[in-house]
Amino acid sequence: MDKKIVILLGAAGAIALLVLFFLSSGKEKTKKVAKTEETEEFLNTKNFSGYSDTMYPDAPSPFANADAEEEAKSLWPTAIKSVKDDAHREKVREEWRDFASKYPKNIYVLNEYRAPLTEKEAADRRSSLDSFTSVDTYFFRETAKLRSAEIGKDPAAAPKDAGVTSDQQRAYFDYKIKEVESRIELIQYAREQKGLSSDQDGIADRDIAQWKKELEDLQKVSKTVPNI
């Protein structure tokens, strides 16, 4: 009886071994994390022992464990590499100062590169943001409805009720016009500084042509807003 069990177990083991051999040959080599094809050196993370920012100073580095470090670099290679240092930030500040001096009214310039706002100016900005986003959302909502309209069927005529006041609409157009102008200025500045890649030059040409047309339309229609 005992002998039989031994033989049976032995046979089962041998079969399992055989199956195991056939299944694993030529199949995946299991690894916790597939290595990325990145061969680039992790410049910023060479000897990376912790995040550079000062918040959570007690947070232990997960990289104390070599596997964890390998996993992180495999999963998030660019995010880890893109941690910026002070020298980079100073260069960016210098760019902003230069850009803001050339285009002081550009809407993309952050407050820190402008004269400090008074309380009233800050309140006006909040109010403008409310007004612009309200009208903008209204138009996105309405155009979304029109986009799903039946093919071949004409859209309804403009409703008698405008849905927005003329002041709101004027402020909306003002912001839109400033924004498109600012966008064009940004691209032109980047071009002057040779900051666009060659493939982006063609895209920039097409975009600027389209934005100029959009700007023309906005300027034209904004003049038709009644003074009521």
């Binding site: 005992d2 069990i5 031994v6 177990l9 089962a12 083991g13 399992a16 071994l17 195991l20 995946e28 080599k29 690894k31 916790k32 994390v33 597939a34 990325t36 995040y51 920012d53 918040m55 959570y56 947070a59 997960p62 964890a68 992180a72 495999s74 999963l75 998030w76 995010a79 880890i80 893109s82 941690v83 930030r89 960016v92 760019e95 902003w96 850009f99 809407i107 993309y108 952050l110 909040r126 109010s127 943001l129 409310d130 612009f132 986003t133 309200s134 903008d136 959302t137 909502r141 979304a144 924004e179 966008r183 940004l186 691209i187 500045y189 980047a190 900051g195 666009l196 890649s197 895209i203």
Partner: protein, 440 residues
Amino acid sequence: MIILEIVRNKKIENLKKGNVLKMFKIFLTLFALFVSSISAQTKAELFARPGVIGDSLSQGFFGVNVEKKSQEWAYPVIVSKQAGSSVSYNILKGPYLNFEDVLKGDCGPICMASSLIGGNASTVQLPTHAGITGADYSNVLKTSGKCEDITATKQVRQWYWATWYWYTFRWVTAPDCQSPDKFHQYGLRDSGTQMEVMEKVKPTFLFGSVGANHVLCTALATSTSCLDEPRFKRDIREVMRRMSAIGSIKGGILFTVPNVTAIAYLESYTDPQGRANYSGLKAFYRSTVSNPDEVLDKTEIQTITTFLTMLNNEIKAQAAAMGFALTDAKVMFDDIKENGRPVRSSDGYSPGNARANWPLLNQPGIFGLDGVHPNMYGHAVMSNELIKAINVKYNTNIPQVSEYSAWYNDSLNRNPVDLKKFLTNTILGQVISWLIGIFA
């Protein structure tokens, strides 16, 4: 003598028993190896060629941009890597801008300009990951990298010789190909629609969730007018029918859509004058409400909840019909909203539970600065929930990602930006305009 004989027999018996035990242990070990090998085999077969259809979540949209960094941390890329496989995709460098980098002073006007017009950092012949920002199941079927709607047609004149002396025309139906948005242009290029890409890729495993934008529009537009149940049902069913017809898919995963009225983009608002239709949920950046359209009131929230239940039931039914794994992301998100998500290192350190918000001072969070999309840490959380569901469904052993490591290496969590301190910056109106334009 007899006693000696008995002792000898006992020893032999014990020896035999010992052998049996040993053999049994060997058998158990072999059996365990056998089972894990089958599991590895299943994983290898499943993930031989993963394919992805999807939206901003799968493409790695991150307030308000798609770029290499954020594409790498998107859930299909992470889950595939953890499964020992990979997906290929066109790498974008915009459009729009990484608002975190701008506000932190990491991206100046030149970087901003480059990101604003966007383009491809690198491309592949045929992506296996075709998820595109702003897409829903209708876009999966209709929007390619070249045409907003490949089924759209128009009437054009076709000139021909009617007789040897008479040149005339007849009206014929021709494709009406309007340029799609830049996310589709750069993400799909000339590969076709997301559906057509999958039909060419013939994936073995499908990341098939594209449901969120059928309902997210309500939160961003604070309106229920974009809800369209027949279109959603028709198109998800058609997508799954065509996926089944491919014949190569051995498994996949779908997830339900979280409660979009609970995202960080929206916050409670009570009208000072007590008007019901002026109270409810407003966009976080709005300081006042001057119009009922600027809030989701109680009735609208109920309409969205009902729609969401219908949508998630359909997703669950499709997952079951396709034999796919299912992650109930709605339940997961509700739990994070209620209890937070513990962030803890292997040696017990915790910065606190992550909240369903963008990170704030000493408070980890799962969202990016738009209050709609997850940050790098949030994607790791999402990936782990997907991995758990895949492991249960297919008996695989895909390892989870270290959420602590994701938090530790997430720049927004480690160095938070409180967006509410930037509301007087003139750039913000346009950032919100892009966001609403993509998702509303």
